[in-house]
Amino acid sequence: MMLIVNIAGVALIALIIWWFWLYRPAEVEAGAGQLVIVVENGSYQPAHIKLAANQPAQLHFLRKDPSPCAEMVLIPGLDISENLPLDKTTRISLPAMQAGEYDFHCQMQMYRGTLKVE
């Protein structure tokens, strides 16, 4: 009995590691049209965004989450930080970026997302 419990526990740990750290989620392409990132219920939707390298782009954030955690979005790699008013779309202009990954997150890093530039 204990053996099964222990194996289940270790499997659970492995699952946590895989799900949160190893798994690479698919990115949403921000090509044509306006991409709106909805900030709601503690997360960014979509949170993984693909952008083209070497050209400026725009992100639109619509904050529906009243928690103060959601009120700011930071992109440290690009020196960007922006206040997000509630229930409004905020536009963030991104400069032409080199290929690479840029994280965006709230002040406390609990809401997280990545921009994959390639």
Partner: protein, 753 residues
């Protein structure tokens, strides 16, 4: 789009924000489209921020239509939106606070009686059928609380789980969820569990949800106070301006004031936009922006800035900068930007916060396994309690909040003292500086030198010498040159045309006036040109020892006069430099002056070390020299000819005059001319860094000590196992503590005037 900006404007300018312009070639197309609109005088696009400045008599709607016809999108820039945004935010926060408090009341309404019952010995176990029924009812009620008061935790946890990320919601949802599910199993299927393990934890679920909602509510309140400084700045802007239109005057909304408009400000009113006084005189209180307590005299030609208060007289001024271009708007923008930037000290916390939640989940599983394998009976109950407690006590928020909250308050506090800190990096480095180089002219001294002595050498008289020198210097922008030309103007001497003018950098100038070859500069210049000046070295030295700058003036190859210019030391330089020295900072003066003058000025302000006779282009080298000695060097200058030195320094401080915030290259801008601003900047940054360290230390210790205790490390030794409710309370108040500690910075006093 706000309606004010769509009204037709009299001749003036307006800004449009452009959407969909992806390449530089769009600029021409958009500008062309706008210029073809009747009434548009000019259209200039700033590609970097996607804005177009349009001047002319035209309304915003037709401009937007023109841009849209060209295939792009446009919106009118909303000038007055800061206040609206602030008001909306307060409204939203208030509503959210109410909701959190309601959540708290509902959850504690159930949790508290249950907890009291258990504390007074009530059986929290399921043994009889009646107990089973009663607890089932409680379980359903708890589910109600979970849905009503804790819905945001569970939905948030699920949303981030789907995104392969985890946050505070995940921990709370897992912790409270585990406790509830286990309790429900006890209630519904008691037979599956050993008798000792049939314990319910509904009170924990309800209490934790209640306490965390309370913590969030209090944190929301405390957070509001951290942005007081920026609120105060935004509140400085008046809502209306009295604009003179022909022979009428009208109060119009501030958003509609255009650059070029003439605005009247009466005593006691706020200056609505930046501008230049055209008529009247008054004193203006600029302390809210510069921290300078003395009101400033304003008369025709002087600049006035939005947000300052007109004290004594009525003035008419022409608006030069409006909306987002005013000094106030730029200060607000800069402070906001800096408040959101992080000093490097927060990086470790960020890295930890990034992997925190999954790590805690793993610890919870490990802890449960250890209890199951090695714990006393009932192992299952202990395992559940320890895992739940670990999940609940862990607080990534305190870690994540530690740095930004302090930076927010610290940068705001600095702004109140007239100190604009560019970013978190500058804030942190400023707190650690070991040496400070002060440029002499304009930093230690007023930067307004005056002619004090003229020692005549030849037959030429004072006026002749001064007239020739002033003619020669009329093309130069050097502060010493200004002293000569002003002094000549005071005596009513007319400058003549100068020919073959040549500035010998750092040494002086030469040129021809009225056919005479003139040479004006320092000892080195005379020596290089073979002028005999030896007999007057003594006089020059005596002047230098009086902290004056002696300059030699030669006409047609012969010395004609020694002219001394002195730049008075600012009256509070000595006291401010003392403050720096008291903070264990090695203060070094830097000047282009000769050694003797430099020594005299340094002595006046209590500086022991100085670099004299430094050419402007060599200032940066002196910074590097100190850096090579292992010092962390700050450099303070007026930002005009010392930009390379400011950039070379670990932190560059640009000392402004009044509200001139044009000096955007510096890490720190001191809006006040006084060096006290510099000492304030250092003091604020030290206080902020200390506060950040306290917060980080607290948050680290809290988690490092809290998580193992929650897991039960104390149990084998003392028999202590934390209750999940205590963990919930600790977690709820840990982030509140961080925010409150950051708020203590608000009590920081900049300078004892």
């Amino acid at each position: 789009m706000n309606t004010a900006s769509t009204h037709e404007h009299a001749a003036g300018s307006q800004t449009l924000m452009i959407e969909g312009a992806g390449c530089a070639s769009c600029v021409g197309k958009i500008e062309g489209a706008l210029k073809s609109v009747p009434g548009v005088d000019s259209a200039e696009m700033n590609f970097a921020d996607r804005s177009v400045l349009v001047t002319g008599r035209v309304d915003a709607a037709s401009l937007i239509a023109a841009v849209e016809n060209a295939g792009y999108g446009a919106t009118a820039s909303e000038a007055g939106s800061d206040e609206d945004a602030m008001a909306e935010k307060e409204e939203a926060d208030k509503a959210y606070y109410g909701r959190l408090m309601l959540n708290m009341k509902m959850a504690l309404g159930l949790g508290l009686p249950l907890m009291v019952y258990s504390l007074f010995g009530g059986a929290m176990t399921v043994t009889t059928g009646a107990e089973q029924l009663a607890w089932l009812a409680v379980g359903v009620l708890t589910l109600g609380v979970m849905v009503f008061s804790g819905k945001h935790f569970y939905v948030g946890a699920w949303q981030s789980f789907k995104n392969h990320s985890a946050n505070m919601d995940t921990l709370i949802a897992l912790g409270t969820g585990t406790a509830w599910v286990y309790s429900m199993v006890v209630v519904l299927l008691p037979a599956f569990l050993p008798e000792m393990a049939r314990h319910v934890y509904f009170e924990a679920t309800a209490m934790i949800i209640g306490l965390i909602n309370l913590g969030l509510a209090l944190e929301l309140k405390a957070r509001g106070r951290t942005s007081e400084a920026i609120k105060r700045l935004i509140g400085l802007r008046p809502k209306t301006a009295r604009v003179v239109l022909g022979d009428r005057e009208r109060d119009i909304p501030i958003e509609r004031v255009m650059s070029g408009d003439v605005v009247r400000v009466r005593p006691g009113e706020k200056i609505p936009v930046d501008g230049q006084v055209v008529d009247g005189q008054s004193t203006v209180d600029e302390s809210m922006l510069t921290g300078e307590p003395m009101p400033v005299q304003k008369r025709a030609g002087d600049e006035v800035v939005a947000g300052t208060i007109n004290k004594s007289g009525t003035v008419l001024f022409r608006a030069t900068r409006v909306g987002k271009d005013t000094a106030l708007a730029r200060i607000i923008q800069m402070v906001k930007q800096a408040q959101n930037s992080k000093p490097p000290i927060g990086r470790l916390a960020d890295v930890i916060a990034g992997v925190f939640v999954p790590t805690v989940m793993i610890i919870a599983v490990v802890s449960a396994l250890i209890w199951l394998n090695f714990g006393p009976e009932p192992t299952l109950a202990f395992a559940i309690v320890s895992a739940t407690t670990v999940l609940i006590i862990a607080c990534p928020c305190a870690l994540g909040l530690a740095t930004p909250m302090s930076v927010m308050v610290g940068v705001g506090k600095a702004a109140e003292a007239g100190v604009l800190i560019r970013n978190g990096q500058a804030l942190q480095t400023a707190s650690k500086l070991t040496a400070m180089i002060l440029d002499k002219t304009g930093t230690i001294t007023l930067g307004a030198p005056k002619v004090t002595d003229i020692v005549l050498v030849s037959r030429l008289g004072e006026d002749e010498v001064l007239q020739m020198a002033a003619s020669l210097e009329s093309g130069s922008e050097h502060p010493l040159a200004m002293a000569i030309t002003e002094s000549a103007a005071e005596r009513g001497l007319q400058a003549e045309k100068v020919e073959e003018f040549n500035a010998v950098a750092g040494h002086g100038v030469q040129g021809k006036v009225g056919g005479k070859a003139l040479l004006f500069g320092n000892e080195k210049l005379m020596k290089d040109r073979g002028i005999d000046y030896a007999r007057y070295l003594g006089a020059a030295k005596r002047l230098a020892e009086e902290a004056k700058t002696p300059m030699f003036f030669a006409v047609d190859g012969f010395l004609a006069a020694v002219i001394a210019v002195a730049d008075p030391v600012k009256e509070d330089s000595l006291a401010a430099i003392r403050r720096l020295q008291k903070a264990n900072i090695r203060v070094v003066m830097l000047t282009g002056d000769n050694h003797a003058t430099a020594k005299a000025v340094a002595a006046k302000v209590g500086i022991r070390e100085f670099f004299a006779e430094v050419l402007p282009e060599h200032k940066a080298e002196k910074v590097a020299e100190l850096q090579a000695q292992g010092e962390l060097v700050g450099m303070t200058g007026d930002g005009i000819n010392d930009a390379p030195a400011l950039a070379m320094a670990d932190v560059g401080f640009a000392i402004g005059t009044g509200t001139d915030v044009a000096i955007e290259s510096a890490d720190v801008t001191l809006m006040r001319g006084s060096l006290h601003g510099l000492a304030d900047a250092i003091a604020v940054s030290k206080a902020t860094l200390r506060n950040i360290k306290q917060n980080l230390f607290g948050a680290f210790i809290y988690n490092v000590a809290g998580i193992p205790i929650a897991a039960g490390v104390l149990y084998p030794f003392f028999g202590i196992l934390l209750s999940p409710v205590i963990a919930g309370a600790a977690m709820a108040f840990s982030s509140l503590t961080v925010v409150s500690n950051a708020n203590r910075l608000r009590l920081f006093k900049a300078q004892e005037h």
